[in-house]
Each structure stands twice: as structure tokens, then as C-alpha cells.
């Protein structure tokens, strides 16, 4: 019973190694599932290339496009996806509604999650929540119209945020590839500063030190660990999200508060003091009492 899962590693830029994917596909591989845009670091996977590989090996391809919808161009034919997960609230639609794209040709068959009245050919039993679905449709329509405008704006804001922070403090690392990324997601690590304490100090800025899916655990995010980020840097990461409604003033305020908070924490940190004196903290033998 059950299925065997093969987890593919990612490079330090967060991208899948395509050659590794080709190697790991077996004759009995039932599904390849890759997230299109990562929610923690904002990296965009090479979905088109992965789709091509899946077509070659005739394996169904599922992608979680919740963060991709309305933000990057989604083309199910180019990507060769058989299944695609979509979420309403990620494109400024209502919460509580999502969609699953199922390819017609070649038809992909799924097992229903819930059994009941047999609506939608037995795949989705239950009554459609009309207001939510209409809301999601309207949000999609708007997102298509506004995608270019939003992207240009958000790109400028992202640069403003990153440059603003880098001008005032050093030891700032961007997690994930800088080229293949969605502009509205910026995951930064601040050396010698702990993430949760930084978060508690940034009371007026709504940022996160991980994704909502891992909010219960205090462990550093599995995404950063997969990138190969050192333990100490993984604990310091903060994710900034920029969207359609973010203003320049908010970015400036976020820069100001972040810089102030990071400087304050570094001031208090004995590790930072040692680094400034030139001590290599990786060589320290911590005494046991």
C-alpha cells in the first residue's frame, strides 16, 4: 500500500537539477510534482523544461501554481502540465476557494477526495460556492489585465527594498536565485541576527520568518536547509512580500525599521562583537560547564 516518493535535491540557487530529474524518473513513476513558484524564497522553477522531460517519458506532471497564477505567464500547453493547483486568495480573490486544472487530452484521471452526489463527473461532489467562485474568476480576469503593470511596479519596489537595506547594513544575503525569481518575494538572511527576535522587533511590518505552512515549528525552514544554507544563516531569514497594494512609503518604512532593528540586535550580540574583532566564530571551542 502507498507510494514511494523520490525527493529531488535543489541547488544553492533553489532550482531543480534537470539532469537529476531525468535520472530519477523510473518506468513506474506515476507523477512528477514540482512547485512553480516557491512561497518562501520566490524562486521560479524551470517548469517548461520539466514539462518537456515529462512529455518525453510520458509521465503526468503536476504543478502547484498558487503563487504563479496572475504573477508569471502560465501556459498549460507550453508547460505540458496535466494537473495544476490554483488558489483564489493568492490573486486577491476570496479566501476559501481554489481550483484544480485537469488536462483533457490526454485525459488525466483522479480519484475524488470526497464521495457524494457525483457532481463534475464524480470528481468533485458537493455544491459550488457561487460567490467564492465568481470572485476567483473576477480576480483572474483582473490579474491577467494587470499582470504587466503590477510586475513592473513590484520589480521597482523590490529593488528599492533591497538597495535600501544594503546601503545601510552589510551581511545581507538573498536566499535563492536572483535571476529566476518572482519579483514580489524577497527572502533575506541577516548575519549575526536571529530571525524570530528580528520578527518580534519588527512589530509594524508584517513579515514572516518562514511560510505559513511551517508556522507551528520553530525549526529553520526546510526550504532554506534544502538550499544548503548554514544553520546560523537559516535561523536569520526573513521573507518580505510585495504586492499590488504595496506603496513606496511602506517600503521606505520597512527599510527604516529593519535596518534599525538589525543594528540594535547586532549591537547586543556578543557574536557580532567577536566578528568585529576579527575572531572566526566557526573556530570557537565553546566551553562546557
Amino acid at each position: 500500500e502507498g507510494f514511494e516518493v523520490t525527493y529531488l535535491p535543489v541547488g544553492s540557487d533553489g532550482l531543480i537539477d534537470l539532469d537529476r530529474l531525468v535520472k530519477e524518473i523510473r518506468p513506474d513513476t506515476g507523477l512528477v510534482s514540482v512547485m512553480a513558484v516557491n512561497n518562501e524564497i520566490g524562486v521560479v522553477q524551470p517548469v517548461e523544461e520539466i514539462g518537456k522531460i515529462c512529455k518525453e517519458f510520458n509521465v503526468p506532471f503536476h504543478t502547484d501554481a498558487a503563487q504563479a497564477l496572475g504573477k508569471i505567464k502560465v501556459d498549460v500547453e507550453k508547460w505540458n502540465v496535466s494537473l495544476m493547483s490554483l488558489s483564489g486568495h493568492k490573486i486577491y480573490g476570496p479566501k476559501g476557494v481554489g481550483a484544480l486544472y485537469l488536462r483533457r487530452r490526454p485525459r488525466i484521471r483522479v480519484e475524488p477526495q470526497m464521495n457524494g452526489g457525483g457532481q463534475e463527473r464524480g470528481i468533485r461532489s458537493g455544491t459550488v460556492p457561487t460567490p467564492l467562485v465568481v470572485g476567483m474568476g473576477a480576480a483572474c480576469e483582473l490579474a491577467m489585465k494587470e499582470m504587466e503593470y503590477d510586475e513592473n511596479r513590484i520589480k521597482g519596489l523590490q529593488e528599492r527594498l533591497l538597495n535600501g537595506i544594503r546601503e545601510k547594513i552589510d551581511g545581507v544575503v538573498v536566499n535563492g536565485s536572483m535571476d529566476r525569481r518572482y519579483v514580489g518575494n524577497l527572502n533575506l538572511s541577516f548575519a549575526y541576527v536571529e530571525g524570530e527576535s528580528l520578527l518580534m522587533g519588527l512589530k509594524e511590518v508584517a513579515v514572516s520568518s518562514g511560510s505559513a505552512c511551517t508556522s507551528a515549528s520553530l525549526e529553520p525552514s526546510y526550504v532554506l536547509r534544502a538550499l544548503g544554507v548554514d544553520e546560523d544563516m537559516a535561523h536569520t531569514s526573513i521573507r518580505f512580500g510585495i504586492g499590488r497594494f504595496t506603496t513606496e512609503e511602506e517600503i521606505d518604512r520597512a527599510v527604516e525599521l529593519t535596518v534599525k532593528q538589525v543594528e540594535k540586535l547586532r549591537e547586543m550580540s556578543p557574536l557580532y562583537e567577536m566578528v568585529k574583532e576579527g575572531i572566526d566564530i566557526k573556530q570557537i571551542q565553546w566551553a562546557q560547564h
Binding site: E141, Y149, R244, F245, T246, T247, E249, R253
Partner: protein, 106 residues
């Protein structure tokens, strides 16, 4: 999701000779949109409505083709209706907590 029905309506309207808006009408629409924007209690929505109006009118300022002008104008009017309705609905459910950007530093 392409809305072909709306496209067809727009083309029909333009073809039937709906006159392009006059300069006064355009300015009136612009002012009305900015006025509605000010009525939003939420900082982010208020700023977005203001900014989007200014950018949209600026992007379209060099249109000369009358059917394109009518299309943009009716689009703007439709957005005005949405904004007026939403400003009213949101004002009925104003949250007590204001955005941090609206609170003057003490």
C-alpha cells in the same frame, strides 16, 4: 479567462458610432475617480485607487483612435461604479484598527 462577450459589446458600441468622450468628460471622470479613492478607509486600497487612476490616464493620454478612446472611457466609467459601490460597502464595516501608515508618529 478571456471575456469575449465584453469585447464583442465594446466593438459593437464603437461600431455603432458612440462618440469619443470630450476632454471635459475625461477630466470629470478623472476627478470623480480620485474623489472616490479618497473615500476608502483602508490605506492600501486608497493609495492603490489613486495611483492606478493616475497611471491609467497617463498611459492612455496619447490615444487618438475614437473607438479606443470610447473603450478606455467606458472601462473607466465601469471602474468608477465598482469603486463607488465598494467605498460604500467598506465604510459600513470599517475596522477600528488603522494601518500603521495612517497613524502619525507621536
Amino acid at each position: 479567462m478571456r471575456n469575449n462577450i465584453r469585447e464583442r459589446e465594446r466593438r459593437q458600441m464603437a461600431a455603432s458610432g458612440v462618440a469619443a468622450p470630450t476632454r471635459t468628460e475625461v477630466l470629470q471622470l478623472y476627478r470623480s475617480l480620485l474623489r472616490v479613492a479618497r473615500q476608502f478607509c483602508d490605506y492600501n486600497i486608497r493609495e492603490y485607487s489613486k495611483r492606478r487612476t493616475i497611471d491609467a490616464f497617463r498611459d492612455n493620454k496619447n490615444l487618438t483612435d475614437p473607438s479606443q478612446l470610447s473603450a478606455a472611457f467606458s472601462d473607466g466609467k465601469a471602474q468608477l461604479e465598482v469603486a463607488k459601490r465598494q467605498a460604500l460597502v467598506y465604510s459600513l464595516y470599517t475596522p477600528k484598527v488603522k494601518s500603521i501608515m495612517d497613524i502619525k508618529p507621536s
